[in-house]
């Protein structure tokens, strides 16, 4: 109930509150709103094309695959049925979204917005289905698949070429305008989208977003035909494909059914791999060695096999956006690259322990198995936390070192010796911060297993959002408390060594001392959590299988 209340509060704060983050979008002018919407839709489409891996055009249920695929229906009829059926969910999504954005205030125009948004959702949905069929065709037929899809591929090649040409011409102008202010930037961007080749390229996107952005019924009606045309072209593209998608759809349906069965059996939301996917090979585990090392090896393999290129691209894009928004007008390329690497190191350090869950957050669903092993609880905890600590520390450390190396000849930055001292400080501090974050997360799952989603996937919904909110606040408080002794020692060592080794190196010495203190705290925490694990009873933890 507490978590649900927190979730409701979060929903109100973000969406329904006057002056909240979402409601402030309404302050934008009509041209800027259209530009933002077109960019948003374009980014979603590009991300769908680049990162979507599903080969099935629509997610069929197991029952649908068993009845529809065996029924005397053509492939085209099955697709039309699925397109028709999926519209109901899209309409509900559109209505709910508009309700949230309008803070529950309804009018005739609001209803038209819901229709406009449904058209947008439907086009996105059909575009994803069309791309799924294209991928499937290429995967099924190889080179001949390329020949079969020549028309579609030519359209995409032309689009890419036109985008490159427009970008080459206009990006410097738009970037220059943004440097003078965001209003000027959006005005320049709007001009690009409404003139020359940019207007032709952006027309389908504008056609889709315009009904949603219409402020009067007349505007809506005048924008509707173009949106319906884009929708119709997508339906024709998807339904006109004669690709055998049944096997891929059945495979997808079976995996989904397994996930649901696992969830109902209390084993969390497992993510079974496609039966066609082959595991990446890895160095074999030596049968002799420590148990903690074996558990860490197991988790490291899991990270390696389930960390997808999509995750890497998303981290890269987020990092690039962050760096570009912070850069100054005279930033050199080496400084930009260094900032990119440092930003990445920061994201790995601060977000990595929350995003990657290959520790007890994942393995507690196997508690019954873990409890049978002849291993003490503290060894289990050490191994579970160790793998992520090692992987994240190495990644963040490597990025930080790379940032140091790419700016090593840059004279405009502080002296090289000082930067070296800062690097040493960072390399000492990174594992300490990651360790505290990981232990806080693992403490949460051991002490409140019913409050943390156990298994590979995060839970969704208001209650889960509230739980995460409360746990994040708790984690930050724990982090502050854990860092107090380290901060005290850091300050003492820095003060004492300040006269001997000088400013930056005294910071480095302080950082090493602080990191050692955190290390000691973590060792104590591992012993204590090991005791909790030893006493943990799968029957009463709320995560036991039947």
């Amino acid at each position: 109930m507490l978590a649900f209340s927190a979730g409701v509060f979060y929903l109100w704060f973000m969406f329904l509150r006057r002056g909240g983050p979402v409601s402030s979008l309404g302050l934008l002018g009509p041209d800027t709103r259209e530009t933002v919407a077109v960019l948003f839709l374009g980014v979603i489409l590009v991300l769908n094309w680049a990162l979507q891996t599903s080969e099935t055009p629509f997610p069929f249920t197991l029952a649908e695959t068993q009845f529809l695929f065996a029924a005397p229906m053509t492939r085209r009829q099955v697709l039309l049925f699925k397109i028709f059926r999926s519209q109901m969910a899209l309409v509900i999504s559109a209505v709910v979204t508009v309700f949230l954005f309008r803070r529950g205030a309804w009018s005739f125009v609001t209803l038209l917005h819901a229709v406009g948004l449904w058209l947008g959702y439907a086009v996105l949905n059909l575009n994803g289905a069309g791309m799924g069929l294209l991928r499937l065709s290429l995967a099924q037929h190889g080179v001949s698949g390329v020949r079969r899809r020549t028309g579609t591929l030519i359209v995409f090649a032309l689009l890419a070429g036109a985008l490159w040409w427009v970008g080459r011409q206009d990006i410097p102008v738009v970037t220059g305008a943004f440097n003078t202010g965001w209003r000027a930037g959006f005005t320049a961007l709007s001009q690009v989208l409404h003139s020359g080749a940019g207007a032709i390229l952006s027309w389908p996107l504008r056609a889709v977003v315009d009904p949603f952005l219409a402020t009067t019924p007349l505007e809506f009606l005048s924008a509707l035909p173009a949106a319906l045309l884009v929708f119709g072209v997508h339906v024709w593209w998807v339904v006109g494909s004669s690709i055998a998608f049944e096997e891929a759809a059945t495979d997808h349906a079976q995996r989904t059914a397994k996930r649901i069965a696992a969830l109902r059996a209390g084993r969390g939301w497992t993510e079974p791999r496609s039966s066609r996917a082959k595991p990446l090979t890895s160095a074999a585990l030596n049968p002799a060695g420590s148990a903690a090392g074996a558990i860490a090896w197991k988790n490291r393999l899991g990270i390696k096999r389930e960390f997808t290129m999509r995750s890497l691209v998303l981290v890269g894009v987020a990092t690039a956006v962050g760096v570009m928004s912070l850069r100054g007008p005279r930033t050199s390329s080496s400084e930009l690259l260094g900032a990119f690497l440092l930003f990445g190191a920061g994201m790995v350090t601060l977000l990595g322990p929350l995003a990657l869950r290959f520790d007890l957050r994942r393995d507690l669903e196997m508690l019954e198995v873990l409890k049978t092993y002849p291993v003490r609880g503290r060894t289990v905890v050490l191994g579970e936390v160790g793998a992520l600590l090692l992987v994240l520390s190495l990644a963040a450390g490597a990025l930080t070192t790379a940032a140091f190396l790419v700016t090593i000849t840059n004279d405009s930055l502080p002296a090289l010796a000082d930067r070296l001292a800062i690097l040493v400080s960072a390399l000492a501090g990174i594992p300490a911060v990651i360790a505290v974050f990981l232990l806080v997360q693992n403490t949460s799952v051991l002490l409140f297993p019913a409050w943390v989603t156990v298994g590979p996937q995060r839970a969704v919904g208001l209650e889960a959002t509230g739980q995460r909110l409360l746990l994040t606040i708790g984690s930050l408080l724990a982090l502050v408390f854990a860092l107090i002794p380290a901060a005290l020692l850091f300050g003492a060592v820095m003060w004492l060594s300040g006269d001997v080794v000088g400013g930056p190196w005294s910071v480095a010495l302080g950082a090493v001392a602080g990191a050692a203190t955190v290390g000691g705290e973590c060792w104590v925490a591992v012993q204590m959590l090991g005791g909790v694990f030893d006493r943990m009873d799968p029957s009463s933890a709320g995560i036991a299988s039947s």
């Binding site: 595991p279 558990i295 198995v369 409890k371 003490r376």
Partner: protein, 240 residues
Amino acid sequence: MLQVRGLTRLYDQLVAVEDLSFSVAPGEVLGLVGPNGAGKTTTLRSLCGVIQPTRGTVEIGGVDLGRDPVRAKGQIAFMPDEPHLFDYLTVEEHLRFTARLYKATGAEARIPALLTELELSEKASALPTELSRGMRQKLVIACGLIHDPKALVFDEPLTGLDPAGIRRMKQTIVDRARQGAAVLLSSHLLHLVEEICTRVLILQRGRMVAIGTIPEILAGRPDLQGKSLEDIFLALTGSA
């Protein structure tokens, strides 16, 4: 080898197992039978250290499970009815991982032999999601056998196996007992229990209602002479 004294397990006010005492000697196969909810799985989980008994002690190879769980667990293997496996480890990696945790000596040589014995050689590099239910069950059993345990605990070991697999599994269990392991086998398949178990323990509502060889049990119930284990079970548990 396996000694249980006064084992009691409560779930709040519910008595799952009450004052259960028995032992399994090396080379013996003890069949644990009982109707649904009799406390069989709770007993097995208590023996393997998954849950802690409310009262009573469990000794494995003379080592008290409560006092020295690491050494005691190192001598036992638990094969549950539902095969829980790590989705991201292949068949061979499961065996290597388990071997390391149990400090199994000679694991490098034992892994190919076990894979052959349980017909998993062709699936050595497959992930659990690529295996059938029966193969997953075999992998769990292979993991249980990798450290050559002195005591083996099976919970419905034949679930999901094909006829050939069932025959081989029964042979594997009998072979391990002949090699000196103490085997505790829980199953609803009474013909299996009758075929391979040397003694039978019948549980009813958490309490032991009978233990011994079938002739020993019949000695206490002359009215059941000449009946099958199924008839004896139904009569003793009042399920008839």
